[in-house]
Symmetry: C2
Subunit: 391 residues, 2 copies
């Protein structure tokens, strides 16, 4: 089941027996470490670098969590974030799950993030689908390989890096033409289970399932089985929705509930639930043109057999994923048990996407869009021995 | 359920907005990264250090696996390893599960490890229970935060660090006096599940469950539930055994099977199975004094209700854990559903421990004990700009 990797020769040219310097004074509690370390790099990293203790919790035991956010530039040139406190609330929850620091002030952290974005302002693109992707990361830098009496990391690092997102066809190779992305419903690798970490944004949820990805499919549709049924949990790193015509004439927007702890509480997911509920109750100031008012949001389990059956009887009216990365993306096909299941196209999905991106890009004014204050960066690049410190 | 962490203030004195240097030439494919990075360290690491791309697979998505090994010094002063190829076989399996390089030559890697140990030879202690603990680690250094068309890491690093193990009472605070360690049977956190990664030695299996540890207990006894029963999987990072008197007069040594993929295939576990089977069949050259020949090794599921019932009816004759860290350790008590269950003491467990440590320390000659050749280190510390390279 595991994939093959090209033969890696232990050639002598890239091997290092690194000794600590003869005058090295070990820090308190670390006098018992070997002086030498053997390293065998397969290649080398570049750009920004961070240095870690080889026995640190992040390197040994995957004590790391993250968030994914985006910064948008409006047509007027100002920068916007989308509900950043929601990300940092979830970041705290993930951190607590790993015994990492989680008591910071979110308003302070949003302010620092805004300063970082102000420094990068010239870099942030304006094109549709373009943005600056933001990756806050929090990990254990302290030694974490032995059994500890307490689960708390004694040392940790929070950092935020950014990457330009130029909106180049992310799923071009795995999209059913004009009809959304293709998913492979995966039974061999189970992403999350009750009592596990599926509802937290931990690195450990992602690296352990990347081998499941099949060529030609945008991502895996994660399943978990009980009572002989295969239930959906997520797709890739998205929350999943189906649209169904109910017998009482209502159009149902159905997504997995959060109770069993195997689904990430997505911020786009939460926002869509609010927008749809507000639309149905008539109290929304955000128009969802074309969506019926006789609609209903339902949070419950969805099984693969329900999907197959409702394709056959015509009640399935569409399927989509949502998340910070994709915003809202239509699902076109699912491969399940060696069969391709085609999902009906639904133009309402594009309306949901346009509404969320409209809020994110400041085209629809909404309190969810957080304006990044301008900052001239004064003090940010003051001289310092190795790095530049914010005074 | 998540623990609290002391308030961490985002004080300005330890914040860094680090820019890349003005003349920085981004490596191919990385021209789209932000120039600045925000870092908020809670403290700092020391000693050996390794530098990583902040978006590397290990830091973002927990793409890291490891092995645990020990180097012993015999009374004659030579160094011994215990079945090192077994560790490196498992290391390859873990690496493949994560899409990391896994095609190296184990004999070459054992040879390199022996050279590292030869360099550290003066450091390796001789006292009983003392050894040099060895931590080979393999992780993804390449950028690993986006959806990739292939699961393979394009860059990886294997390193081996060592720590002196001086045999100081590892579980002193959580040992039932003279009767073994105390375990807390954990239902809130599930370590492993079918389709997950429990049978691989991944960092992700360890950091995500450390918060389960209760004070006063050596470690958690991991449970997984199906059909209304709580079954054992492992305890802390050990394999678990029970000793039971069977109705046919045989003494049964029972440990969980490997079929459902939730138990780590331990090397001590495998070695005990071989030693016990050989003893039962009479073909062993290793004496297990005091153990009956009417014994039987059984690999199957063990439920908590079986343990409770067999304590009551007197058929449970002992319980122990095994692994590289503990070798063989008696389990004295289990906390389960708010009740303490006392496990009968069994002197045979000490005999198993003495036999395995006798082989490991070269007191019992056996092919499992791998002698580390002497090496004068010539060439290992040749001058080099940053590190010393093995020419």
């Amino acid at each position: 089941m595991s994939p093959a990797y090209p033969l890696a020769s232990l050639s002598s040219s890239n091997l290092f027996f690194s000794p600590l310097p003869p005058n090295h004074e070990p820090p308190a509690g670390k006098a018992n470490h070997g002086r030498y370390m053997l390293t065998i790099p397969w290649s080398a990293a570049s750009g920004h670098e961070l240095a870690f203790d080889p026995l640190s919790g992040v390197l040994q035991y995957a004590v790391t969590c993250f968030e994914g956010m985006k910064c948008y530039k409006t047509d007027q040139g100002d920068l916007r974030l989308f509900r950043p406190e929601k990300n940092f609330d979830r970041f705290k929850r993930s951190a607590a799950r790993l015994g990492l620091p989680n008591k910071w002030d979110n308003a302070e952290l949003v302010d620092l993030l805004c300063k970082l974005l102000a420094l990068e302002a010239p870099l942030v693109p304006t094109g549709d689908g373009s943005n600056l992707y933001i990756r806050p990361t929090l990990l254990e830098t302290s030694e974490g390989y032995g059994i500890k009496e307490t689960a708390f990391a004694s040392e940790a690092l929070l950092y935020v890096v950014t990457t330009l997102n130029l909106g180049k066809g992310l799923y071009a190779s795995s999209e059913a033409p004009g009809k959304g992305i293709r998913l492979d419903a995966c039974r061999d690798y189970i992403r999350a289970w009750p009592g596990g970490t599926g509802s937290y944004k931990l690195g450990a949820n992602y690296g352990t399932v990347s081998v499941a990805k099949k060529p030609g499919f945008a991502m895996s549709l994660w399943l978990h089985s009980h009572d002989g049924e295969d239930y959906l949990s997520e797709a890739g790193a998205m929350n999943v929705w189906i649209i169904k015509q109910a017998a009482d004439g209502y159009l149902e927007f159905i997504t997995m509930g959060l109770d069993n702890g195997i689904v990430l509480p997505g911020i786009t997911r939460e926002s869509l639930i609010e927008l749809l509920n507000d639309h149905a109750s008539g109290k929304s100031s955000v128009p969802l043109p074309g969506l019926p008012t006789k609609l209903r949001v339902v949070e419950r389990d969805i099984s693969m057999s329900e999907i197959v059956t409702s394709i056959e009887d015509g009640s399935l009216k569409g399927m989509f994923g949502c998340g910070t990365g994709v915003v809202v993306v239509q699902i076109g096909e699912i491969q399940y048990q060696d069969k391709i299941h085609k999902i009906p196209h639904n133009p309402l999905i594009q309306i949901l996407r346009d509404t969320v991106t409209g809020i994110q890009r400041g085209k629809i004014e909404h309190p969810w869009s957080h304006k990044v204050p301008e900052w001239d960066g004064s003090g940010a690049e003051k001289d310092r021995e190795e790095d530049n410190v914010l005074a």
